[in-house]
Amino acid sequence: MIEALNVSMVYPNGIKALKNVTFSVEKGESCSIIGPSGCGKTTLLFIFSGILKPTNGRVLIDGKEVVSPPKNAALILQDFGLFPWKTVYENVCLGLKIRKVNKKEQKKIVESLLKNLGLMEFKNYYPKELSGGMQQRVAIARALALNPDIMLMDEPFSSLDALTREKLQNFLLELQNRDNITTILVTHSIEEAVFLGRRIVILSPRPGKVVKIVDNQGMGDVDYRNKREFFEKCREVRKSISLAI
């Protein structure tokens, strides 16, 4: 279980990014975080990943306070996740290399992942030689290589075209259903938040505060996107957001 308890963040330059953020995500559950640009969503993910320390409050994973990057969590960023100077293979391998997994094991893990994600024939390509959708698949592969219990994602699909985005959303949903990975997904798309989050946390403009937590029991199926329930949930979320702003 992941818990944010009264998390506040003031940057050294005085910018108040987050204020008293409290919510929790159950093991194996998926949670979407949505809020206007600049409200502190990325900051919050960095705090969850143990990279930034909140100025107030705490983050707990399975009851233990996060003070450094947890071994069982993987972070996926929108633009700076992949290293342009590393090939697809090297990027996916990086986490394993840093954790000093032996070379043979690295190769086995990475190649089977690349095969599964249809990236094998691109293993020696550099990120800029791939489409945006493929780049994000590589980023997901790199996260999966560490066999994480938790995935933290910062607007992973926001620079993709609508069709590619839907495909990757479906892919992610299937992954969540299969591997039972606890997911926190930051997004600014209401549809994405509703499609992928069992729980939807709505943040206010800066400094980000939790405005509302919407339960979304109906999600979990690729078909959800076409159901009336889905549209109604989107409407509900949209209304809460507009009340917050």
Binding site: I51, P69, F83, W85, L94, I98, K128, L152
Partner: protein, 247 residues
């Protein structure tokens, strides 16, 4: 070899040919012993090869390569570690105070401390390349986007990993660009450094043949200097192609 590479090579040949052609025409028009024709220089070049041109060339090459390596081995680590604010607050004032000075004026000091031998020449050249590479490396190391570093940290990286996987590869293309400029400067300073207190090196050869009005030898020296620079560029290009494939 790919087609574009072939074209690339061809354009080099054409450029070389045009230069030699222009040289021939000028020498023909001026008809002065101070501008001998290309084929005369070529003959003298061959003649000089049989004498001691190769020794001069090798000594110059040794001095300049040694200098460049010395400069890099200091400038790159120092430049990269200015990524740390503490290091930078120490290094930056030195850069601001020392970089704008034409370093060649330190020659007397260097000679006082290190004598008039090779070491002084190497230090003089190295010092100039050092600053050029240092300034660029520092700029690059300080401009790494922090999200790259966060992304690496989330994988469990330590400080050393950050330098190996982010800061160094990010700065490398910029370092190579700085080196390209540095090579040009280093050859110029090499010439200057070899024009005194030595009887070896291409710079000496050029100055000596000039004073004897031995123009073919003079030109053989100049051409050798150009070849030295060209070879260094070529090596750098090969290195760049290997390590900056991602650009």
């Amino acid at each position: 070899m790919s087609r574009s590479e072939k074209k690339h090579k061809l354009s080099y040949l054409i450029a070389a040919f045009l230069l030699i052609l222009a040289w021939s025409v000028i020498s023909h028009l001026l008809n002065s012993p101070a501008v001998p024709s290309p084929h005369l220089v070529f003959l003298s070049f061959i003649q000089q090869l049989e004498r001691d041109l190769i020794t001069h060339f090798l000594i110059s090459a040794y001095r300049v390569v040694y200098s460049i390596l010395l400069a890099l081995s200091l400038a790159i680590p120092i430049g990269l570690t200015t990524h740390e604010k503490v290091v930078d607050s120490f290094v930056a004032p030195f850069i601001y105070l020392l970089y704008p000075i034409p370093h060649i004026v330190f020659l007397p000091l260097i000679v006082i401390f290190f004598g008039i031998g090779d070491l002084s020449k190497i230090i003089l050249i190295a010092m100039i390349v050092f600053f050029q590479v240092l300034v660029t490396t520092r700029d690059a190391a300080r401009s790494v986007n922090k999200y790259y570093i966060y992304s690496l940290l989330s994988l469990g990286a330590n400080k050393k990993d950050i330098y190996i996987h982010v800061i160094f590869p990010f700065a490398l293309p910029k370092i190579i660009t700085a080196m390209r400029i540095g090579i040009g400067t280093s050859i110029a300073v090499l010439f200057f450094a070899e024009s005194f207190a030595t009887t070896k090196g291409l710079g000496y050869l050029i100055m000596d043949s000039w004073s004897r009005a031995d123009y073919p030898s003079l030109y053989a020296g100049i051409v050798s200097m150009a070849i030295l620079g060209f070879i260094l560029y070529l090596i750098l290009e090969l290195v760049e192609r290997r390590v900056c494939k991602w650009m």
